[in-house]
């Protein structure tokens, strides 16, 4: 499957949205491409954010350049990634405690950046979005939306592969291969095979997000990155159908984003040292802040079940010493280490945001092409991603699971076996994931374990957080890799991973549910969950 001589034009390090997007762009421009990821796709910041399709309005007042990039990419993604996008629109609301004067300058800044921003009557806002705080005194409607980063990333990977790219997950960079001052390849630790492998390339692109700091360091370059931790909460169901933001200077817990069957309140912002980026967890204080402030956006938040809490690290490139990490530019940083540090064949693409991943990929690929002397135009803004291609709706009455699968895989749903009782039976009842969908993911979407499967399908992301679906999914995985012991260990570590996110909000129904889950697996099935590392 992989290149015969392990030789590529370009190797991309990092399987987040940016890396996946860069792999797609490179492959589409005819470059022989390999993307490597130390864990699973979307395991870093890509899978740990709001899933907000920014209109750019939030940055309009402070960072016009970012705002303009946002709105432009926002419109592109609606077109090329329609199956990952929910065009909900968003509201920026002013509450009695906020300064209504901010609204005027906010709208002006939006319009200057090309972002549609309509001041609407608070009563109209309540009609549009009944969950919004009824005490609001002002509202602006903007073209915000939500985007599913898991689908977006895997769709880029699928397309990169269609264009000939090779893909390696669970391969961690251990060293670069130098030829003088040029980087000519990478040494990787293959975690499954527990061996070291080498791949050579003319250009290596560092798309490691916050981990890009260490990757650059390994190459001998210093990128001044500042890890900024943000925590978020996932609520049990969709409270709101429009994104709700506070119309004021960005602060804690001021965005509520509806995404698929849930909604997400976030975020906080805390500076963390580089050594801790793999260890971050939401704290009790952060949960308190998120609930206290979130309730002001939508009072229903106060009496809605919380599914879990999680934290991500923003890969901000520090340009000043702002301690909150918020007024830092969200702009894209594309570094040519040849001109900057004298290391040829090495590029770092960082900064930016989820929504500008495509533009970041374009910049990095432009630079790679320049280095390789390839003259090919970027087409990623024009050609739809797999899943977002136009497909016929046969108007047949579909099962709930089929409808749910279609909302996740778009036009690729036709790859899912359906129509017989076994394939149509449900693995995950909360999210409507069928046997057919799980098998499709296992066979075609780089699924090696339960966590991979969750990111590709939403198995275990629903109300029960794996209580009913995980044993069924583990069974299908065992069928596929043929090792029930491995499946059992995978099941235990998956349940522990689920608990990790429940622990910070473990009260009420979520605690009862977790207790019921442990009773089923530990009590009834005799599965040992306690030997696992991730238990607090």
């Amino acid at each position: 499957m992989l290149s015969k001589n392990n030789e590529y034009d370009v190797i991309i390090i990092g399987g987040g949205a940016t890396g996946a997007g860069t792999a797609r762009d490179c492959a589409m421009r005819g470059l022989k491409t390999l993307i490597v990821e130390r864990l699973d796709f979307t395991a870093g910041a890509t899978g740990r954010n709001h899933g907000l399709l920014h209109s750019g309005a939030r940055y309009a007042s402070t960072d016009k350049e970012s705002a303009e990039e946002c709105i432009k990419e926002n419109m592109i993604l609606r077109r090329i990634a329609s199956h990952c996008v929910d065009e909900t629109d968003g509201l920026f609301i002013t509450l009695p405690e906020d300064d209504l004067n901010f609204q005027k300058s906010f709208v002006e800044a939006c319009l200057q950046s090309g972002i549609k921003a309509d001041i609407i009557d608070p009563k109209e806002a309540l009609l549009l979005e009944p969950s919004v705080n009824p005490e609001l005194i002002g509202a602006v409607r903007v073209p915000d939306g939500s985007i599913d980063p898991f689908r977006l990333t895997i769709s880029n990977i699928v397309d990169a592969q269609r264009h000939g790219a090779d893909v390696l997950t669970y391969h961690e960079l251990t060293d670069f291969i130098f030829d003088g001052t040029s980087i000519v390849g990478v040494k990787l630790h293959d975690k499954a095979g527990n061996r070291t492998v080498e791949y050579r390339s003319k250009v290596t692109i560092n798309a490691g997000g916050i981990w890009g700091y260490k990757i650059a360091k390994m190459a001998g370059a210093t990128v001044n990155m500042m890890p900024s931790k943000g925590s978020l909460l996932i609520m049990g169901h969709r409270i709101n159908n429009m994104v709700i933001n506070r119309c004021r200077k960005p602060a804690d817990a001021d965005i509520l984003v509806p995404g698929d069957t849930v909604c997400v309140i976030g975020t906080t912002s805390t500076k963390v040292p580089h050594e801790e980026v793999d260890l971050i967890r939401p704290t009790a204080d952060e949960v308190d802040i998120l609930l206290r402030e979130g309730e002001k956006l939508a009072p229903a938040l106060a009496y809605t079940r919380i599914l879990r809490a999680y934290s991500g690290v923003r890969p901000l490139v520090a340009s000043d010493d702002d301690p909150s990490g918020r007024s830092i530019s969200r702009g894209i940083v594309c570094l040519d280490h040849e001109t900057r540090d004298g290391i040829s064949g090495f590029i770092t693409i960082t900064g930016g945001k989820l929504i500008t991943y495509r533009l970041m990929a374009e910049w990095a690929t432009d630079l790679a092409c320049k280095k390789l002397g390839v003259n090919a135009k970027c087409q990623t803004a024009d050609i739809c991603l797999p899943g977002s291609e136009k497909h016929k709706d046969d108007n047949a009455p579909h099962t709930t699971a089929y409808k749910a699968a279609e909302s996740r895989h778009g036009s690729l749903t036709n790859k899912i076996t359906t129509g017989d009782n076994y394939s149509d039976s449900l693995i995950c009842e909360c999210e409507g994931v069928s046997v057919g969908e799980v098998n499709y993911a296992i066979n075609e979407l780089h699924v090696h374990n339960m966590i991979n499967l969750r990111r590709r399908t939403r198995v275990g992301m629903g109300t029960c957080q794996g209580e009913l679906c995980s044993c069924r999914a583990a069974g299908l995985l065992a069928n596929s890799h043929g090792c029930s012991q491995r499946a059992k260990e995978d099941l235990a570590s998956f349940l522990n991973e689920r608990w990790k996110g429940i622990a910070p909000i473990a009260w009420g129904e979520s605690l009862s549910e977790a207790q019921f889950t442990s009773w089923i697996y530990e009590g009834v099935c005799g599965l040992s969950l306690t030997n696992n590392e991730d238990i607090q």
Partner: protein, 418 residues
């Protein structure tokens, strides 16, 4: 601030589901119809999806009988049946068919049919007519329509009304369509018992069909109009006249008390406790030693009691059975509590006939094995189903009490002098 709110504990009832799936185990439909996703999925699971996108409404929700056995089974108190019915009301785009309107409008159909009772009874009982109804209206030809009575209960009552004022204590009687059009004897039996213990029986100022069939057939606006009218009449009786409203049908009473509030959004909290099943009312009077019943020595019967679904939901079967057990000559057996399959108008529909009979199968077998003198149950549609599907006659507990009652002795015991 509410303590509950501060703790962020969900008040969205569907989120209290812990996915234990006990409801699906107890669902009579899930057991026999693989097309129905079961209460857990149809209710709390899919509610999340419907909140995401109304397109996730699944037409198979029409298979729900609204028996509420899922709610009885749920250890987390999730109103699963209500969630499913509410989703049907909110999202279903299916228009009720002519057949559904005929079955649901028990009032109008009852008025017409009882006027021409002998003709109607003969005609709808004829095989060719049953076949025509089967083919044109999709009302299953296996079904036997309940016979209509020539004299309505209301007409009979008018002649008794004056006598009822002579009593010291009074109640109102929500007779329902069945007693009015099909089986006035049940109403007369109730009057007999209540008079014997010193209660005068009165009708509500206005009474319309409780609307249970309108709700299940999707005629929500009409159901709401009737519910409002009934609720006003009941309020007047309970609040102004101080008269508890009694019924002899568990489904009517359940609808008036609970479904009006849960499904039709009618606020009746203030009068809910004033709506009672007659057996419960009488049992509690006896239990508090306010009244006594005396029974005939020569009354002997082997009775099997069938718990209607709504009786199970109300938790009131114990009142009807305890009352019957007071009769010295009664030997009472409890049948397994499970749905008989009729679910009001559901079983009359051709497309549901097979499922309906499958659901009731084990209970029919149990009855045939026991061979009781008769089956007792508090619901008229259960009666039709069991009588059609077994060789045993079915009676309402009130009729059994009335038959076994020694009226003179009871009047004496309660010092009723007229």
């Amino acid at each position: 601030m509410d303590k509950k709110i501060a703790l962020n504990i969900s008040t969205s009832n569907f989120e209290q589901c812990l996915k234990c799936t006990i409801c699906t185990v107890y669902c009579p439909v899930s057991a026999v119809n693989p097309d129905y996703p079961g209460p857990k999925q149809a209710g709390p699971d899919n509610e999340r999806m419907r909140l995401k996108n109304a397109d996730f409404y699944d037409k198979s929700l029409k298979h729900c009988l609204n028996c509420k056995r899922c709610e009885v089974a749920c250890p987390s108190n999730v109103k699963i049946g209500d969630i499913i019915q509410a989703a049907r009301i909110k999202y279903s785009t299916d228009k009720p068919k002519l057949r559904d309107m005929i079955l649901a409008n028990t009032d109008i159909v009852g008025t017409m049919a009882s006027t021409f009772a002998p003709i109607v009874n003969t005609v709808v009982g004829m095989k060719p007519v049953k076949m025509i109804m089967d083919k044109t209206l999709a009302i299953d030809h296996h079904r036997t329509f309940p016979k209509y009575s020539s004299q309505r209960f209301e007409s009979w009552y008018k002649k008794q009304a004056a006598d009822q004022d002579k009593f010291d204590k009074h109640i109102s009687y929500f007779h329902g369509c069945y007693v009015n059009y099909n089986f006035p004897k049940l109403g007369k039996d109730l009057v007999k018992i209540l008079n014997a213990i010193g209660y005068g029986v009165h009708l509500l100022e206005k009474e319309k069909c409780c609307g249970v069939a309108l709700i299940s057939n999707g005629l929500i606006d009409q159901a709401k109009r009737q519910a409002l009218l009934n609720t006003e009449s009941i309020r007047k009786s309970v609040k102004e006249q101080g008269r508890t409203v009694l019924g002899t049908s568990s489904t009517c009473i359940f609808t008036l008390r609970d479904e009006y509030h849960h499904l039709l959004d009618i606020d009746n909290e203030d009068i809910k406790d004033g709506i009672e099943l007659a057996t419960r009312f009488i049992f509690r009077l006896i239990d508090s030693e306010d009244v006594k019943l005396a029974f005939r020595d020569d009354y002997k019967a082997r009775i099997a009691y069938h718990t209607p679904c709504h009786m199970e939901k109300l938790g009131w079967a114990i009142y009807s059975t305890s009352l019957m057990r007071m009769i010295p000559g009664v030997q009472l057996t409890m049948l397994d509590s499970q749905c008989c399959g009729i679910a009001g108008t559901y079983g009359f529909k051709k497309e549901n006939y097979e499922v309906s009979q499958k659901i009731g199968e084990t209970i029919f077998k149990q009855i045939e094995t026991l061979q009781p003198d008769f089956v007792a149950t508090d619901c008229e549609t259960c009666k039709w189903q069991i009588e059609m599907s077994t060789s045993v006659e079915v009676q309402n507990p009130i009729s059994i009490i009335a038959d076994a009652l020694d009226v003179e002795k009871t009047m004496k015991l309660n010092k009723v002098n007229l």
